[in-house]
Amino acid sequence: MTAQATKPDAVGPREMWDRARAFLRAHQALRIIIGAIIIAILLPTIGGIFAQVAPGFGTQKDWVGGFADAGVFILLACGLNVVVGMAGLLDLGYAAFFAIGAYTYAYGASTFTGLQVPFWVMLFVAAGVAAIFGILLGAPTLRLRGDYLAIVTLGFGEIVPVVILNADAWTRGTNGIVGLSQPNLYGILGINSFGFQNPYLYYGTVLVIIATVFILLYRLQDSRIGRAWSAIREDELAAASMGINTVTTKLAAFAIGATTAGLGGAFYASKLGIVSPDQFDFSVSFTVLAMVVLGGMGNIWGVAAGAFIIYEIQHQGLKQLGQFVQSLHIAPISLGPLTIDLSTINFLNYQYLLYGLALVLMMLIRPEGLFPSRRRRRELHIEEDETAEFLAAEELER
């Protein structure tokens, strides 16, 4: 500060603000870290305010725990975004990699196997195992036409829970594996095992993971491989003739998507303390896909926001809506033969119907999502752009 003040061209506060903005614009990682810190403070505060204003919605701890779970879905959505949004491959069995991450954690750190590998190590192991499965599944199928990939991943997403369910000897079938160990800081900052009582620690951990993933994903997106992904997404043939190895590039997208899901799975398993096959059925894949599409395919922030919004609607909004409507005590409305009793409607039943409608309407009306990336928007509105360019060119010629 003093050094700046002694300079002849003393800067006013406005210029300093501009400089700070320019600095932040140039330093993406810093921006993400600052954003994460703001969110780390902001969301628990909002949760606290909600807990004060509307005690029926749960305590601050409940809210923070919910935000930590939402963080898992943000991770999943960001990972699927690499596959669907950046590389343009439709993965319909994404929950399989989530399951693989979670079960890997269950093998590495539970009373079931007796192994007690630290959480921080298992995060990487789970991510790695999920990536290996991603490569194993992708290697034979990514050579084929894109639509086949969709159905193969759909099948894979269906098969993984079936295998987990049926291979009781190794996975304890429907019962699931219980007694998973919690993350542990070994006394750093006075924290040992996270336990189940303190959601703040999980919330902080997931934020750190998300911020790291964000930084890596942004760097990937702007790297050579990120450009290769968008080239393949826009025109695979043209990309191939430009010398991009389409198979390895797509495989990389697939593996990175799987890695992120593996991270999410390990964190989720450690927070819940139990893994069972029904946590990973097709509805998870579908929900995450809806998050990516609604948030705005290809835009990392947008997808994260979409994931957060959908998760909160699903886990707080619809549940509370049901309770709210019940509390109104509206008399059943009678429409001739049809009687609508609002108080008996379970709004959670309608969530997938709503997602389905949202997906269709989104694709028809606003295919770039709620928070689109600029590039993706231009692709989807290419005809309008071309007309505009054409008109502009005509203007120039005149």
Partner: protein, 343 residues
């Protein structure tokens, strides 16, 4: 197949249909042997079961393959169309007021005809509606867009039934008597005979329709080259709508078969059936109707054989592994022609 044909020109002496017919007969014999080994005395019965379930998958697979053939879209909602078919059949049976088997052959025939017509026509129009509102606006959009709406449509259909009708397994009255009849050396239950003949009749009818009628020709020309067909005066929107109608109607027929043969349905039945039928379509060579029918029977065999060997719970995993193996070693399917691939 194409590669061999090019490498050994002498094989061209064989006209294609007879080669296909030979292959199918060989597969039928092989299938019998595979199923007969673990089944022992029940070999015939299991074989007929496999044919029956295969008929079901064949009917559904035809819809996948026709739609893919004409607009290159994997219609993920097709399994749900089948599911809606089962419920329309169930509602029709209930509306007609039948709750038990019908022994009068004339009445039974009439009732079944009504059920088939009602389900096939209603569900056929459902297919047309879906095409009109969910797929047609996206015909020139990036490939991902219609795939995503297809998933959306499938969830909409599934959850309309889930919320509006039932959220658990419902049993349907089986109208066809559970008797056996003797045909030569084999005895066969009426229901199995009925299902297999329905499938064969419909597959043949479809074949005749697509090859011998003006509309069928319009459909085929549209699937070969949409623009050229349009230039030749084919109304491609109508051709595509008819394709969806036929595909959905066949899935509805499969739905009726499901209610009569297995006697249960549930809101999410379409997911598994759709996955199996799609595998069948890929197995036969997607876009190829004969191949889809053949693939359906093969998948039926795979499913029955896996339970005959005691791995019934794993049948999904086995079918899925089959799909992956086919995609790796024979991506054009058993009967599929080499198609221009983007990748």
């Amino acid at each position: 197949m194409t590669a061999e044909g090019v490498a050994v020109p002498s094989q061209r002496r064989w006209p294609m249909p007879s080669r296909t017919a030979l292959g199918i007969s060989a597969m039928a014999v092989l299938g019998y042997i595979i199923i007969a080994i673990p089944s022992g005395a029940f070999a015939n019965e299991q074989y007929i079961n496999a044919l029956t379930i295969g008929s079901l998958y064949a009917l559904i697979a035809l819809g996948y393959t026709m739609v893919y053939g004409i607009i290159e879209l994997i219609n993920f909602a097709h399994g749900e169309i089948f599911m809606v078919g089962t419920f329309v059949a169930l509602i029709t049976i209930k509306t007609l007021g039948f709750t038990d088997t019908i022994h009068d052959p004339l009445l039974l025939g009439g009732v079944l005809l009504v059920i088939f017509l009602v389900s096939m026509i209603l569900v056929g129009f459902l297919g047309v509606l879906i095409e009109r509102f969910a797929y047609r606006p996206l015909r020139n959009a990036p490939r991902l867009a219609p795939l995503i709406t297809a998933i959306g449509v499938s969830f909409i259909l599934q959850n309309i039934v889930f919320v509006g009708y039932s959220n658990s397994v419902v049993t349907t009255p089986k109208l066809i008597p559970f008797d056996e009849i003797q045909i030569g050396p084999v005895s066969i239950r009426i229901i199995n005979l009925f299902v297999i003949s329905v499938a064969l009749v419909l597959i043949t009818a479809l074949h005749v329709f697509t090859t011998r009628t003006r509309l069928g020709t319009a459909m085929r020309s549209t699937s070969m080259d949409r623009e050229a067909a349009a230039l030749m005066g084919v109304d491609i929107n109508r051709a595509i709508a008819i394709t969806f109608f036929l595909g959905a109607a066949l899935a509805a027929a499969a739905g009726v078969v499901q209610t009569q043969y297995l006697g249960t349905t549930v809101f999410n039945i379409g997911f598994r059936a759709g996955l199996f039928a799609f595998t069948a379509a890929v197995l036969g060579g997607i876009g190829n109707t004969t191949g889809a029918a053949l693939g359906g029977f093969v998948i039926g065999f795979v499913e029955v054989a896996s339970s005959a060997y005691g791995y019934g719970r794993w049948s999904e995993a086995i079918v899925f592994t089959t799909l992956i193996l086919v995609l790796i070693f024979r991506p054009n399917g058993l009967l599929g022609q080499q198609t221009a691939e983007r990748a």
